[in-house]
Symmetry: C2
Subunit: 315 residues, 2 copies
């Protein structure tokens, strides 16, 4: 059941666990690169992970997620817990543009040894975002971070799926949100454990809260009723209430069995995604091979049919 462990990854993890930040950064870079690099990291981190609680944060671009995350981190640090933050940018191969601007707002935490913030790009990763993010969260977890915040840029399907698998999921909206996330409203309603209406000093706040409460009252299938927290992240207002809401949800989740249920589901999904990623890699590899070219020619000459050819290629 054992495979040879990458000595480099193991050494990096040992260093990261003593607080060496550059080691942690290098582990995450390996995850971003994907392939054997990512796998070697997973091999050493998985055994030591599981203690951290993950919090997913999603919402439409411009909702103020980064500022809110920064305010939340400040709140969490005030009670002494360690926090890792993954900011996910699905499209960019580099940390740039809006994300970089957002990161600047988190500069206040740059000198705090118990906070680790990383913008993550995943282009080139074999299994894409949905495989890379659990891998990266596991690095922060195994390195000893007690909480891992996973912040996504937008509300695309994959992003919603990823944050929906966190132990606690926060959906951030603004007054008048209905127009901006119309397409994904149902998906967001489904995954939210906590709603945040950020920029609560803007007009339309009462209608938005009422709108959310009404929709939440129609929600069935869970004993948890997501609270609606109002924040003004730029001033840090409401961050304390949000942190309380997260702890409440976490406590309820453990008591109700939801925590175990969700982790089990997440594990199953992750295993399935990794299997699919390996399968896809095999197809890619196959499609460039001599055997593929031979099979193609045999099919073109109508000596064999595609199904038989495919079976032989996979055989």
């Amino acid at each position: 059941m054992t495979t040879p462990v990458d000595a480099d990854a193991a050494a990096l993890l040992a260093a990261a666990r003593t607080g060496e930040r550059s080691a942690l950064a290098r582990l995450l870079s390996k995850v971003e690169r994907g392939g054997d690099d990512a796998r070697s990291v997973s091999e050493v981190t998985h055994a030591l992970a599981g203690a951290a609680t993950t919090v997913g944060i999603t919402g439409a671009p411009g909702a103020g997620k980064s500022t809110l995350t920064s305010a939340l981190v400040r709140e969490m640090r005030s009670v002494g817990v360690s926090v890792g933050v993954l900011a996910i940018d699905p499209s960019s191969p580099f940390t740039g543009g809006a994300i970089l601007g957002d990161r600047v707002r988190m500069d206040e935490h740059a000198l705090d040894e118990e906070v680790f913030i990383r913008s993550m790009a995943t282009r080139g990763h074999l299994g894409g975002l949905s495989v890379a993010v659990p891998d990266a969260a596991r690095v922060l977890d195994a390195a000893g971070m007690q909480w891992v915040l996973i912040e996504t840029v937008g509300v695309g399907q994959v992003e919603v799926e990823i944050v929906g698998e966190a132990d606690t999921t926060i959906v951030v909206v603004n007054p008048g949100w209905g127009d901006t996330v119309q397409a994904n409203k149902a998906g967001l309603m489904e995954i939210a454990d906590i709603f945040v209406v950020n920029k609560a000093d803007r007009s339309g706040i009462e209608e938005t809260v009422a709108d959310l409460e009404r929709m939440l009252s129609l929600r069935t299938g869970s004993e948890w009723r997501p609270p609606v927290v109002q924040t003004i992240a730029t001033e840090g207002r409401g961050a304390n209430e949000l942190w309380s809401a997260i702890q409440h949800h976490s406590a309820w989740s453990h008591e109700s069995g939801e925590f175990e249920r969700r982790r089990s589901l997440r594990l199953d999904q992750e295993l399935r995604r990794v299997v699919n990623a390996l399968m896809a890699a095999k197809v890619e590899e196959l499609s460039g091979s001599d055997a593929w070219e031979r099979a193609r020619r045999e099919v073109a000459a109508r000596h064999i049919d595609p199904w038989t050819a495919a079976n032989e290629l996979l055989g």
Copy 2:
């Protein structure tokens, strides 16, 4: 290189080739069911297929594709060629609703032995539409139909992909089409070998034709300039011009090498899809197995990591 051939499928194909329509219908039902049934059909049809020319017909719902197809079939029958028609409905498990209504318009061909029309649903087929349609077209081809028309209901991504792989692809629009297919305009421009503006007696016809011609003049990368044919399918007007355009494109395609290039590409795509379908089936099978459950438990207990578990499952 040989696999045992399904005696039933072989007998059905032999019967279909002598003109027995019920045998042809049963072969297509096997393709719709997917799995081993579809595979057994592919095994016997592939060796005998390749002579038929395929024509893909797509366009927004309501553009009049079925009526146009029917008028086109009448035109083709007037010169004595045999025609098979596949009307693809990606969502419905049955032939119903709009499609059934559409089919009624084709009733005029019901007693013609050289025309075979089939509405096809593919729910439940392993590889979905993109695997089932080539399989079904191959049945009509191997059964001796000289032309195979493949008509899709809408302009979704998969449908556009499928008809784009036909030997000749027709995109049907109406005056004022811009609004109805906005999202997919670029995709439609790319696949069209022939544009049809149906319902040409409606207002806006001049603007629509001018709009198309302008967009087509910007098209690069092919020596073929798609003609814009105006039709009023309900009256059969323009069907003759469309049939001429199809023959022109077909002749050009053979001369220019485009025909061979496209068939080769289609074959490669098909092989890839079948391989992916078999892979997906394997993942499905795996995910319900005892081995999967054991792997999941091992991962949950953190004895092994997901990548190692996935590799062992696939090993």
